[in-house]
Symmetry: D4
Subunit: 252 residues, 8 copies
């Protein structure tokens, strides 16, 4: 339930279209609904600005479906990350309107599209083609919340001119998500070129001494560029979410 | 050289108070000045929004003094982090107007105070009293750049009510810096209570299996709150800097 | 062989229903029975308060069945942890009365149900729905030993109010098992709210820098709450076992 | 402020010896007192069973003295862990009645000695003579809270008969703290001999591949004895505190 | 080619049964035979006391068969470790006399059985039933070289009496191989009971913080018993080989 | 596009066989071609001495085919590393002239064979037969660039005479690639014997405490031979590439 | 108390020079003497072949002196390892006959020199001059127990001919201690040259990625030579002790 | 003894100025001289191209002086790395002609300056001013061997234009040494710009998650630029030495 839905509900009460009892019924799920295996937080969109997002990786299809149903019934947008294509297919048999972004591995079921934010641009940059799935996780997340996102892919530092050619795009964005595996260098370079916040996402792309993304993670944490913060390895969702939060600030 | 200084220079050229040749002399240091041991980046404040900050930890007093002189002569604000009290004393004999924040270990030499930003509030939260020096590094950094900062200290999760009592303050801020050592839990708890970006700073406070801050760092990277990003262990400066960048967005 | 079984045997000897030779035969397996691949410790329930528990993970079905038989023949309760559904099926063909708890992956074959302890309550708390299997391992273990157990699931710190709403339940329990993956924060928060022992169980739930549970483990070891002790990653059994031992103290 | 102190205050109000206003003044510090650098939690002894303990390691002498004063003025027992002899000397000049346990590095200032608990025995076992300081931290902590504690030192597993000779003592205790560095084996051996909870404390004693206590910590986390839980490296205080909590259960 | 084979060859030359040219042909492979993918070291049994042992894990069936043929043609004993049952089946179709020890995963093809050494006893001790495959690797290795080996299995430290009951066997052996996973404690306990060399073998048995055998490895390296040395995780072969070398010393 | 191709193009322009417009069309892809998922760097062979090499491991067959086509159309040599046999088969259906080196897992599609360099010899040395695939990756890489390469395999340090027997070959080479897993010792020994650069390649061959190649990597980084540098675990390609670069220096 | 001392005591009883009561008094300290901070194990030389050795590193001078006195009074040899020169000086004021080996940091106080063993030779090999102190710890230990020891120093693998020149010495020894820091290669090379047990000792000599000896430790654990076992980093004492145990086997 | 010295000796023999016996005396030190604590390898300059270099860090002043004397007496150049200013002072009292490079911490005592190589240029690049001492170690090493070296300092990636401004210098060099701490990004960026070998040197400059240089080391090992190889953390000497070896190739 987001603020607009709440306002509409209260206006309906005011105008007599909804009785007080009906409103109470609708609101009484506060603060959350107990599914025994999960407590769905319906007021999160009031408190946090976006409905609860379902982390699909370790959950059974049944649990995911149950939580989806609980959220969908309140009219909220359902967003499920790290969802396999197979489980997504199951959800879509129940919710045909849901869209599965297969590279990003995110399913989105929107009953009302978000009002497009009138704020700045989020630029998602990826070092190599193998980093694109994580980058897309950030892209889909931020767009689902209602933000404008552009992308700049395969601009790793071993060919620094590929990046420098897009200086104009770099100056247009108000917040950056920079995704890189292997040596994880790109966020430092981007961070040195721009004067906006850069959210660095290490990926597990690499082999040997990349140690599943540790090398990239450490490089980003030690960035000599002061405008870089870091999220967990492969956490494209978190980066997209924070980028949206930051970008939202610009409008107030 | 920040934008105001540049504008004034150009206006002086326009009004005839400064000749074109003098202006050229002043600008020709672009892009940086070579001190042989360091290249001072005078146009950084144009490109990045704040003059180059000196990382004092591994540098000799002589090098620091040389870089300070190069920056100060351009009229820019000098800010030196991780500076020992002893070296700070040396700088102050040359620049009596400099202020040394001993808990934060930052020296600031401001020739013109920054125009106070008309944007939102930065709230810096620290878990324990031992985390305060790192928190203060963030506070001094953000204030030097011109932002409003409030603090909330000693509100670690082992007494969660200490934090919950300040709900009003939590809703007032537009960006958070949350500092914690040991198990590094506080950013997740704060992140769950607010709908704004949270920059988590792990500290090296702890012993045994804290491994110099690794435990806190990992906890923060794995935060189940989606609005948390992380900086390096004890990197209060970086957190304060990014918080200021984010907070600056609010004004445009 | 637990104390009650022993007493009954001796009373039978006293009453003439069992001859001394028969009793000797029954007791002579002391201190253990050698199956060549395993030494079954039949007097463990005397010495340790509960019969030997079989760790099923690395054992072949044949070995498990052999040990099961040796324990069952003495009349003791058989409990097998980390048992796959497939191997459990094999055991149940031989022991149809056995119960397989599939979420907990524990098989229990009880010939005589344990006398319910008249002691306090064990509360098992889990941060996320993905942590439930490990939590259930603790629940089934403690219940099999004869203790009252309640559960509180999906109350992770990113929505702290979910936990705080159950303050009453928190004050009722005499010992806590708190299960969490990812950043492993929940035991510290629970530990700060209660004045009873808290056994923290890190789980391998997470990705990237959770490193298979290391992040959660370190967070728990560094807990700023003084009443927290820790067991191995995913060791729900150990946590349930110690909780039962602690809870047993309350009755003497 | 513990329960007895609170009761006395209220009885004094009832009998007219204390006015309501005075009582309010005394109670209004709830929930804690803000010293700016620390929030002293005076109601902790109500909520947690023992007043707040001061972790002395990273704090300045001035901060420690300030917190000590705030606690002492409420009549509570002051306990400071990881306190250097030098800082302890400073505290004692202000509080001559304070006792400094130098091996344990704990200072205790008791205004009213605790009523001795009528519960069972805590046995603290240490593997080598170098582990004794950590063991003593547990001993002093548990005794200060009011428990009976016995010790068994230098009984490491390389001479297992030293331990087995004390079988009687092992059966008398209701909870164990077992302290060991190097290979950290002792808790598993003790755990196999007794049917009570064992709190294992790894120490940083060792060299080379002991990695400052990691080897001992891992050995304890992987204990094949089911009754072992673990605290942080060198955390004698935590072990003693939990042992006291567990031992307290026995009385109710 | 071992010393006996060499002697026989030379005696045959002396007696005229083998011509000098034939002997030269047989000896000219010195120092090794080049199979392009492997250099088979036929004189190793002269230099090292036993023919070259084939490490089967990373090699293709074709390579293994080629090396086997090269060794077998010289009349030497072929021993292949870490060999899957499937590849062993392939070898046995060519060498029906070969014996595959499936628990130890070793194939032995002996053309002449080794003269039994008249030296002392090697005792192989294993902590749990899951450690038996690694222990058997040591057993088969030492027996193939010609030594007497006894075993003592499932005597882990959580039931120390199981071990102490075999004191007589412990005094009979002249060298020990002690195999343990999880917390890796058993070698220290055995080492404290005997005055002979103990070779400790950590196994990868365990879960969570056992980290694939690291916990056991570290415990063994930090053993407080002075007579313990360590081999790689799961390296039963190396332990059996060194035990044989040590035991061989006893005869000279 | 390499230098020769460029020269020919310009000569064709000079001779009128290619119009200026056609040349412009051909050159205008500078600096790279955007395939949306990858930016192919056609001028890399001018800038870097060899066309862009495709890292096949994390890419889909479709992406690989697309990049292959873009490179092949410019007349450049296509080289794809870490390519599975299955994907290689797909490429070969489109480019029948391509050669797949299955041990090295490299596919090469050469439209014009490289002029053989007239420089010195590259010697690739491998410790064990299991290290050969990584060694072959270096061999195929250097040969594809046009260098003479010889190999010396199965000469690990446990039989040091195998290596010393090839002293002549060791003195002939101008640069060495030395590949080893397990303890990673061979580069130090080779480095001590020769006065040329040695590129050490750790492999993931081993088990237990080899930690997937970390042991070998650390040994090589700590080499006491001063002429050793190191590449990533299993990075035969990088070693072969740098060896070719170094060997190329000899000719100028 | 070693076997000879015991025999003499019993012979004295037999001959009437010592009364039974006196003998009982002398023997009744069995199994050990309790110094409150340490339990001295006087019968260790019977059970383990050598009196208890004192690990001096973490002990106070007072404790060391107390244990020394308890051992010396029984007529046993006192050996203290990891003893600083300063503490050694204190011991020598009480026991002027004690000898302090400063490179090895061992103090030995022998009341009766050991009968020289008539067994084989122990060869202690060290890679670099910086490894000599650890090597000397092994040398002094083995000599104090009564063994013949020779040394071969500064023969690291970067100059392999230095080692190969001593082939004769290598064939003479019956057991080897090989000490190396940095890449820790030497034990593998020595192990490949000889057919006797090799005890590898990693040292903390090195910098950067030697990680205080971890690189050398891992190299040794992964040795491709089958006759290598390993002790803790810098544990020269343990290596010398086990070498003596192995060498002792040769005589029986 | 280098090749020129050897030739002169032989020419002197040929001309009768040196008798055969004198020449034998001079040559008989082959292959090395035994100082008991060190074996000085006088023929190394023949075999390896430069006299033995002394690693000064772990050696006593006495040992260093002894080795210096042994080398100097043969007329060879003495080079001592990681030498403290204090020990350097001692050496200079004996060898006043020695030069101590204090930033590089190298002492060089040259009796005959090396003939300047007629080969290409070595360019040493450093990311930050704190990395300069390690860079200078490379510079002094390569210059002492006789190479031309230029430097480019303080050109870290957070201000990438500082590096790009020196494109001309980048194209002039035939081999690069690139030194960086913190996130260790610079070698990848330089590697992407040039077509020559790049030797990457991680430094221990940084704090927190730089882990003493591990972050930089991992970034370099995972470099996406194919022309990068890596040496140990802070190993400026090794990088300079290999750069000289590579640069030497250019002349033949």
């Amino acid at each position: 339930m987001d603020i607009n839905t709440l306002k509409k509900l209260l206006e309906s009460v005011a105008s007599g279209n909804v009785t007080v009892d009906e409103a109470v019924t609708n609101l009484k799920h506060l603060p959350y609904e107990n599914l025994s295996y999960a407590r769905v937080d319906h007021h999160r969109s009031l408190r946090k600005g976006f409905p609860e997002v379902i982390f699909g990786q370790h959950k059974t299809a049944e649990h995911i479906l149950g939580i989806t149903k609980a959220i969908a019934e309140k009219g909220d947008t359902v967003m499920i990350t790290r969802l396999s294509a197979e489980k997504a297919g199951l959800i879509k048999t129940q919710y045909p309107g849901a869209v599965y972004h297969d590279e990003a591995r995110i399913l989105v079921y929107e009953q009302t599209p978000p009002a497009k934010k009138t704020t700045g641009l989020i630029l998602v940059v990826a070092a190599g083609t193998s980093d694109i799935p994580v980058a897309q996780e950030a892209v889909v997340t931020a767009r689902t919340i209602g933000h404008f996102v552009e992308t700049l892919y395969d601009v790793g530092v071993s060919g620094i001119h590929r990046l420098l050619d897009h200086e104009e795009l770099l100056t247009k964005a108000s917040v950056f998500v920079v995704v890189a595996g292997m040596e994880g260098t790109l966020p430092s370079v981007v961070g040195g070129l721009v004067d906006k916040p850069v959210i660095a996402v290490p990926t597990s792309v690499g082999y040997g001494a990349s140690f599943g993304g540790i090398a990239a993670l450490l490089a980003m944490l030690n960035s000599c560029a002061s405008n870089v913060t870091v999220v967990n390895i492969d956490n494209g969702f978190g980066a997209g979410y924070v980028a949206a939060l930051i970008n939202s600030l610009a409008k107030t």
